[in-house]
């Protein structure tokens, strides 16, 4: 019984939140890695793209809510998501036209692109704060739980409860759908194949008649969709705050680099590696260990390896280790 209780407590506090957070990071890292593979620079504006996308979705959600449109047990934000994606996509295309296209033409060094993306980050950040303000917003509505801790306890008769939030369920399901769609697109469709060809060998792709501007355009649209979905899922699960989204940049980049920049499969793996390490290291293990160990060995402290204030240090530490020992990432990426 103690063993089962330990497993349930572990799932409740570590596994389930880890899987949800990992899916969100994976979607974010996919966007970063796609930009890296196709446009060949690290997009520092990605966190703020997520923020802008989420903001648009929140605005649409409020509008729908004010008209009384909802999805019953599901959050209204899901209904607003497609509109948010469209707006963010248009915004990304405009940014590319105004900012990045010039540097592509003059074949600027990647670092100049990175700097330009910093400028874009500034502007998007300012725009978000300007429109919705720097404060925290909660926009999840509908049913809060798929199963609450109490229901679970009654069902199983265990001491520990396992709560499953609706947002966590939605996160995992939509992440699976999005990833499946993305891989189908990249591997099966003509446009997807031309994207991969362009990423592998630009010159060869140009020779075989692939239109680079079209590839870039499609990439931005996909990235906008990924960023918006990742941002909305994160915002539903936790809450929306512009500064938090800027800070997400670090774990997202860490995920993409751990998996190997430019490698979509790696980005997903990296997302989960980072998420689980963060949760594992900042979780207070007292409860789980209390069930697992005999009474005499029961720990007196919280058994928390690092306080949650340092969760960024975890992604950073993993990033440093990967850069030191395997700079191409776990799955071989493009970058050295």
């Amino acid at each position: 019984m103690d063993f089962l209780n330990a497993i349930v407590a572990l799932s409740n506090f570590v596994l389930v939140p880890g899987i949800a957070y990992g899916s969100q990071l994976a979607l974010g890292a996919l966007g970063v890695t796609l930009i890296y593979g196709i446009l060949r620079f690290s997009n520092f504006a990605h966190g703020d793209t997520m923020a802008v996308g989420t903001m648009t979705v929140i605005l649409f959600t409020w509008w729908f809510q004010s008209m009384g449109i909802g999805l019953g047990p599901f959050p209204t934000a899901l209904l607003a998501l497609p509109f948010g994606i469209i707006v963010t996509g248009l915004m990304m295309l405009a940014t590319d036209r105004v900012v990045y296209r010039f540097y592509r033409r003059v074949k600027a060094k990647p670092i100049i692109f990175v700097m330009a993306s910093l400028g874009v980050m500034f502007i998007l950040n300012g725009l978000t704060r300007f429109i919705i303000g720097p404060d925290e917003q909660r926009f999840a509505d509908g049913e809060r739980f798929i199963i609450t801790a109490r229901e679970f306890k009654q069902m199983t008769g265990l001491q520990e409860g396992l709560a499953l939030k609706t947002t966590q369920g939605i996160t995992v399901v939509s992440a699976v759908i999005v990833v499946a769609l993305l891989f189908w697109f990249l591997n099966r469709t003509r446009t997807g194949k031309s994207m991969r060809a362009y990423s592998d060998n630009e010159d060869l792709a140009l020779l075989s008649g692939i239109n680079p501007e079209r590839v870039v355009m499609v990439t931005w649209l996909i990235v906008a969709a990924l960023a918006t979905i990742a941002g909305v899922l994160y915002g539903l699960d936790k809450s929306f705050k512009p500064f938090t989204y800027f800070q997400l940049l670090l774990p997202i980049f860490a995920s993409a680099i751990v998996g190997g920049l430019g490698n979509p499969l790696g980005a997903i793996a990296g997302g989960f590696v980072i998420a689980f390490s963060e949760v594992f290291i900042t979780y207070a293990w007292k409860k789980v260990l209390g069930y697992m160990l005999p009474e005499s060995l029961e720990p007196s402290g919280l058994v928390q390896l690092l306080s949650t204030d340092y969760k960024f240090a975890v992604s950073f530490g993993i990033l440093l280790i990967v850069l030191l020992f395997k700079p191409r990432g776990l799955f071989t990426g493009k970058a050295v």
């Binding site: 670092i111 330009a116 970058a335």
Partner: protein
């Protein structure tokens, strides 16, 4: 118009802007702009060293500046003897154990041949060392933080003159830069950017949460000063007599005198650093750096160790930022970790370097002054602009309220826009590299 004339004209323009602030607003704010302008110019010099000479992209300036600020507390505050007695040595022992763990792991990695034995050895060292470190360290921290938490609750500093903190801040920043440079240099150029972004966030997190070190978010106030206190000046008959001789009231005169004292100190540091940077730029070393920047492969073929030179210049530039950070905290007289915002301490400095002219020290200094002036003045201008835009709307209309409240965020937009415009249309900046 030749270059010298243009450059002198640009500097004269900045001087005029500051004088204009003095005449139209107040001399106190003019001197404040001058002081922060001097500090910004020093930070810009440091970043220019990294970006302009070597093409290294550092987006963690905030972290190095904050380390400089930390140095002022460690150097100048009086030691808290009770805290040292309660657990100071234990905290230090914990830190030594932590460092020893890492060194032992590195030694094991280097000495033991690769294989399962090495992995196991490293795992045992790291896990065992970590728990040992935490047991020793946590107890010490609890004891230290329990000593008069409202007043001190930290170990205090060394009680040395605060001017010593400036070079020590530089050394702290250099240490952090060494760790980052060692891992991220020699890889793709973007990696350095990501690693520096990360270290900056972590340095701030440490400073906010480690109360035993510098009181965390409880702040350390009342740092000692290298210049006299206003209140002492106001009670000094000789000073009052001199102020009255100049026709000023003693209170204003004392505030101006103090700010002017800082300005002289900062100017001395800036001039020394500028002289050194100019000498470095025109030495064989500077030429080698630019050669590496312009063509790494060719420089490597000529036998230059690109990664080692990059590490060197990255550490130097970060050290300058650290020193500027220490100077800034000295000027503020307090350390407030929550005031370190990436926008203000990383990206603003970047705008200064790019606008001033990367690769040119004079350009960086000019950018520091000019952008700092704009940064201070953009907020009133933004508020005024919003006033104009919303003048047609009735009071209390939601859009008007919203726009007026959001005027503060105009800074982000403006700085982003300036960065993009200069990067696009005038990438060489106001005073281009020769």
């Amino acid at each position: 118009m030749n270059d010298t004339l243009k450059n002198v004209g640009l500097f004269a323009l900045v001087g005029l802007l500051i004088l204009w602030t003095g005449f139209s607003q107040s001399w106190n704010s003019a001197l404040l702009i001058l002081n922060m302008g001097l500090i910004s110019a020093i930070m810009a010099l440091g970043v220019n060293l990294q970006w302009g000479y070597a093409g290294l992209f550092n987006v963690g300036i905030m972290g190095f500046v904050a380390l400089g600020g930390l140095a002022t507390v460690i150097v100048s505050m009086p030691p808290v003897n009770d805290a040292w007695a309660a657990g100071g040595l234990r905290v230090m022992l914990g830190l030594v154990l932590g460092a020893a763990t890492i060194v032992a792991a590195i030694l094991a990695y280097q000495k033991v041949p690769a294989g399962r034995a090495r992995t196991l050895a490293m795992l045992v060292i790291l896990v065992g060392g970590f728990f040992l470190y935490r047991t020793v360290f946590d107890g010490g921290v609890m004891a230290v933080e329990a000593v008069n938490p409202a007043g001190t609750g930290y170990l205090g500093g060394l009680g040395l003159p605060i001017l010593l903190a400036w070079p020590i801040g530089a050394v702290l920043a250099a240490g952090a830069a060494w760790i980052i440079g060692k891992t991220a240099l020699g890889l793709r150029s973007d990696y350095l950017a990501i690693a520096t972004l990360g270290i900056a966030e972590i340095i701030i997190a440490v400073m906010k949460n480690e109360d035993w070190l510098a009181r965390g978010v409880k702040n350390v106030v009342g740092l000692p000063r290298p210049v006299p206190y206003e209140i002492d000046l106001q009670q000094d008959p000789a000073f009052i007599a001199r102020a009255e001789g100049l026709g000023m009231d003693p209170v204003t005169a004392s505030t101006l005198y103090v700010k002017f004292g800082y300005a002289v100190l900062f100017l001395i540091v800036l001039l020394i650093l500028l002289w050194m940077a100019q000498r470095a730029l025109h030495s064989p070393w500077g030429r080698m750096m630019r050669a590496i920047r312009d063509n790494e492969v060719a420089a490597e073929a000529m036998g230059k160790d690109v990664t080692a030179r990059h590490l060197q210049i990255f550490i130097l530039g970060s050290a300058i930022c650290g020193m500027a950070g220490a100077m800034m905290t000295t000027l503020d007289g307090q350390l407030t970790p929550s005031s370190y915002q990436p926008l203000r301490f990383t990206f603003l400095i970047w705008v200064m370097v790019i606008v001033g002219g990367s690769g040119n020290n004079m350009g960086a200094v000019l950018g520091g002054f000019l952008i700092w002036f704009l940064w201070v003045q953009v907020e009133p201008i933004g508020a005024w602009l919003m006033q104009v835009i919303t003048s047609g709307m009735s009071d209390g209309y939601w859009l008007k309220t919203h726009l007026m409240e959001s005027a503060a965020h105009m800074r982000l937009l403006t700085m982003g826009l300036i960065l993009l415009l200069v990067l696009r249309f005038s990438p060489r900046g106001l005073i281009p590299e020769k």
